[in-house]
Amino acid sequence: MKQIFVRPDRCMACKGCETACAVQHSADKTLFSAVLQSPPPMKRLFVEAAEGIRMPVICRHCEDAPCLRACISGCLYRDDHGFVRRRKERCIGCWTCIMLCPFGVITRDREKHIAVKCDRCHRLDVPACVNACPTRALVMAEPEEVAADRRQKAVRAESGG
């Protein structure tokens, strides 16, 4: 199955992915209504920058997801696609998932008092963040393709060709 891949060398930190994510999770799913929505819709991924690197940090939907395992209320679950999602009505806002996510991609919805995380745009073929990325720093690809591509690049670099 295709997965979201991040290519930090292509990221310009334009935050288009963040905007697209927030819009996708707004009431009307359009930019105009999203900016007027109160409270504003929340993004589920975060463009972060450090010395010499910029990249969006996204939920991995970990195979062995610490957030899911530690959820004390039965809110987080793995759906049929393998995505870690919320049963929103079950969240009690205990923040155990935030405590255990090593990527820092779960946040608090202060209005609704529930945890917020990436749902992988489960209704869309291509997630909003990937769709919005102008430099293809975010791409959908088969893990095998990415691995083959990386190997090839490494060999080329080594052989000078």
Partner: protein, 412 residues
């Protein structure tokens, strides 16, 4: 293969799932003394507020993982016969056994501490008893200012009665919060109308036709119609004391979570094992640790050899009276050699405790964003390398782990 799991809490349930994933043919029998099983134990304070709150699993693991559930109480384990003696007289035999009995509330040795109107909060039944007892009561006293006591107090105040928390130490949530943290949380509780008395142990409790008087060593007294004793928990090992299975404060286990008796494992609150940071033996009492131990014990029972490194006896997330907080590791170091950094601003308090090149403690109050990055540094004992300064600033993000010399387990 016959597997018996004693206890239907999170350790037992997670172990049963792990066994089933590895062994489709396994006979898995779970013995639980509780009528309601399984359920999410951390949710039971909700039952004090609302007796019909849903605390059960969204997907029932008993049917999904084909577990035979027996409502019964274990009297003892017979090692020679390799069976378990139950209160009903039944003696199911096992090839592999998991002790996951969890813990029981500590009842301090105080005169008058048992009797009508005095409750503990550990099970669904306990919570429902408190729920029923609130009717007609004007004031409740909670003995113990830990998480259970505080959650009980918040539930009771939402029922519209007066609540006082009595904590014998100088602050609430000791070991989990430093003095400043306790002050912030205490103020939030006070805003909800909860009174807190710290610094004096209870000396005596007297009963007078339904009215309970709690007397403190300091001389002050509190009258209450209902008392919740929330003075901590201890491993539930009564049934195993003279069985030949080694016990200390809890059931003693090795790194695979097997006891001294081959084929008998233990997981969760009942276990005594090493503190990840100090290496000293301790008991956990925490849900997420029990989940991890259950998964490892279950896998190992079914043939794996996964090592359990130990746990952090402090690793809590909570939302208390509208204030989010995360606390993990060593918050108030008692030994030499720790450096402490605090950051106190309106709406955000952070305390980070370093020892050499490692983070050993983190307290986030008000703003818990990225707390997981810090907790993972503590839990996985990751050397900080060049990131110590960044970590101390409180602004560490995932991106800082990319292309660092010692990325540890967090790197891609």
């Amino acid at each position: 293969m016959n597997y018996i799991i004693i206890g239907g809490g999170i350790a037992g349930i997670t172990a049963a799932k792990a066994v089933r994933r590895r062994d489709a043919q396994a006979e898995i029998t779970m013995i639980s003394a509780e009528k309601t099983c399984p359920y999410y134990r951390p949710l039971i304070p909700l039952l004090i507020e609302k007796g019909d709150a849903d605390v059960t699993y969204a997907e029932d693991p008993i049917s999904e993982y084909k577990i035979n559930l027996l409502q019964d109480r274990v009297v003892r384990v017979a090692l020679q016969e390799r069976d378990v003696v139950l209160a009903s007289g039944k003696r199911p035999g096992f090839d592999k056994l998991l002790i996951a009995t969890g813990s029981r509330p500590v009842i301090p040795g105080i005169e008058g501490i048992s009797g009508p109107g005095i409750y503990t909060l550990r099970t669904v039944d306990d919570a429902l008893r408190i729920n029923a007892a609130v009717q007609g009561v004007k004031k409740a006293a909670v003995i113990g200012g830990g998480f259970v006591g505080i959650k009980a107090a918040l539930a009771l105040i939402r029922r519209g009665i007066e609540v006082i928390i009595i904590e014998q130490l100088g602050q609430i949530l000791s070991r989990r919060l430093d003095a400043r943290g306790a002050e912030i949380v205490s103020e939030a509780l006070a805003r909800r109308g909860i009174k807190i008395m710290t610094g004096s142990p209870v000396s005596r409790i007297t009963h007078d036709s339904g009215r309970i008087t709690v007397r403190l060593e300091s001389g002050s007294t509190t009258e209450a119609g209902l008392v919740v004793v929330a003075a901590g928990v201890r491993p539930d090992i009564e049934a195993f004391r003279d069985s030949g299975i080694k016990t200390g404060r809890g059931i003693l286990v090795g790194e695979t979570l097997e006891t001294n008796v081959p084929g008998i494992y233990a997981a969760g609150d009942v276990v005594e094992f090493r503190d990840l940071l100090t290496g000293r033996p301790c008991v956990s009492g925490l849900w997420s640790n029990a989940e991890e131990m259950g998964r490892i014990a279950g896998s190992n029972m079914a043939g794996d050899r996964i090592k359990f490194e130990g746990f952090l006896p402090v690793m809590n997330a909570a939302d208390i009276a509208g204030i989010p907080l995360v606390s993990a590791g060593i918050i108030e170091p008692v030994e030499e050699g720790h450096e402490t950094v605090t950051d106190d601003r309106p709406g955000r308090y952070r305390r980070l405790v370093f020892r050499g090149d490692r983070l050993e403690g983190a307290l986030f109050i008000g703003d818990v964003r990225n707390a997981g990055i810090y907790v993972n540094l503590i839990k996985n004992r990751i050397p900080l390398g060049g990131l110590k300064e960044k970590a101390a600033s409180g602004d560490l993000q995932y991106v800082h782990f990319i292309k660092t010399p010692q990325p540890g387990r967090l790197a891609v």
